[in-house]
């Protein structure tokens, strides 16, 4: 069994999908191992950090994969295909919700910290992380999703373009805009920390 798993580990995603269509459970397990975590993180971020909802979405996506494996276009990369399915699922969810909830809230005072706390580097890192989360949520959807795919999920520009169905130039310009926006806002945050 271990040998069998080792063999599947060497398979490409696309080959695993073919094996899965033949009813090979190990192929499914391998695909799950490769994508469940990153898909969960993707949904987690897109579904307002709702763990339960993120898990429901991962479950629904893999169930679709099991019930209708032929929906996968073998000419495409599995990674970009499965994330494009995930992206469509979130868009549909947004339409259902109609109004997007902003989980993180708070004013400028959120960045305020005492000098004692500032001495702790780890705390500063944690605060910077919270600030980044906040500013990400402040970005508009199209810029936020490309930034998340590029710098949190680790997608290439080409993969983002395929996933979102847009051209690479658009991806690049959106990433650039998102990075510049975030850098500008977070520079202000760092200056606030230093003055305190």
């Amino acid at each position: 069994m271990r040998l069998l798993r080792a063999t599947y580990k060497d398979f490409t995603d696309e080959k695993l999908m073919q094996e899965m269509q033949l009813g090979k459970e190990q192929a499914f397990q391998e695909l799950y191992d490769r994508y469940a975590q990153s898909l969960y993180q993707y949904f987690f971020r897109r579904m307002w950090k709702d763990r339960e909802k993120a898990e429901d979405f991962v479950h629904d996506l893999f169930t679709k994969l099991i019930k209708n494996p032929t929906s996968f276009d073998a000419s495409r990369s599995f990674k970009t295909w499965v994330f494009s399915v995930a992206n469509n699922m979130t868009i549909n969810e947004y339409k259902k919700q109609a109004v997007r909830s902003v989980v993180t809230s708070g004013g400028e005072n959120e960045y305020q910290a005492s000098p004692e706390k500032l001495a702790d580097g780890l705390l500063q890192d944690e605060m910077f992380k919270e600030a980044l989360e906040k500013e990400l949520n402040e970005l508009d959807e199209k810029h936020r999703e490309v930034f998340e795919l590029r710098h949190i999920q680790g997608f290439s520009v080409k993969e983002i373009a395929e996933t979102l169905g847009i051209n690479e130039g658009t991806v690049k310009s959106r990433v650039f805009y998102a990075v510049k926006q975030l850098t500008g806002k977070l520079m202000e945050f760092k200056m606030t920390l230093q003055t305190n």
Binding site: M1, G23, E25, Q26, F28, Q29, Y32, A36, Q37, Y40, Q41, F44, R45, R51, A54, E55, V58, H59, F62, T63, I66, K67, D125, F128, K129, L132, E133, F147, H151, I152, V175, F176, V179, K180, L182, T183, L186, M187, K190
Partner: protein, 227 residues
């Protein structure tokens, strides 16, 4: 952002950058503050949601869905069944080994007396053989003695006495003598001999000497005092 630019931002200090690198980064970070902020954004983004993971029940649930869809036994369940089978197999083996040991220890006491009987049965012929050899030896001594001139005088006995004292030191010989059908005088001689540190056995004496001692019991006292 090309991978080269991203690599420079992630792994360099702004002060260490060459003019050429600064020029390439111009669009992304024109100042040291901007460069450091961008660096921190990229590093922080890497660690975002790293601890976010689906629950293990999700895998189980999906595996069951897969099994139901394709009509195959779930690997998770079959692995469990296999492990249960293995446990049962090992328990059977352990039970069999325990049964064999119990049987052995039950049968062993029954076999032990038989073994003793067999042992004595084997030993008996060997002892008979030894006795035969011994009698053959004594016959030989007898024949040698017969070749000598028969004498009833005390002198030869006195001469042989020290040799007799050195004849045998094996205590089992005394026991054997005790079982022989000999007279009280002989027994007394044996006892007297045995009482001495250098043991003298009546049975070890040549027949002619034994005869002399039997005819002259006073020699016992002489022999006893001579040792």
């Amino acid at each position: 952002m090309t991978p080269e630019i991203e690599n420079i931002i992630r792994n360099s200090n702004f002060k260490d950058l060459s003019d050429q690198q600064k020029l390439a980064l111009q669009d992304w970070a024109s100042s040291e503050e901007e460069f450091e902020t961008l660096q921190q954004i990229l590093v922080t983004a890497d660690s975002m949601d790293a601890d976010v993971a689906p629950s293990p029940t999700l895998r189980t649930s999906l595996t069951e869905t897969f099994s139901a869809q394709y009509g195959v036994a779930s690997t998770l369940n079959s692995n469990q069944r296999k492990s249960n089978k293995t446990i049962v197999l090992w328990l059977k083996v352990a039970g069999a080994v325990a049964a064999v040991f119990m049987l052995f220890f039950l049968v062993f006491p029954l076999l032990a007396p038989n073994k003793t009987v067999e042992y004595t049965a084997e030993q008996k012929p060997m002892e008979t053989k030894k006795e035969l050899e011994k009698s053959a030896d004594s016959n030989e001594v007898k024949q040698n003695n017969e070749q000598d001139e028969p004498s009833t005088s005390v002198a030869p006995i006195m001469q042989e006495a020290p040799q007799l004292a050195r004849l045998e030191s094996n205590p089992t010989r005394a026991m054997r003598d005790a079982n022989l059908d000999i007279s009280t005088a002989d027994r007394g001689f044996a006892m007297a001999s045995e009482a001495h540190s250098d043991r003298l056995f009546f049975s070890d004496m040549p027949d002619k000497n034994r005869q002399v001692v039997q005819e002259n019991p006073e020699l016992l006292a002489i022999l006893y005092t001579s040792f």
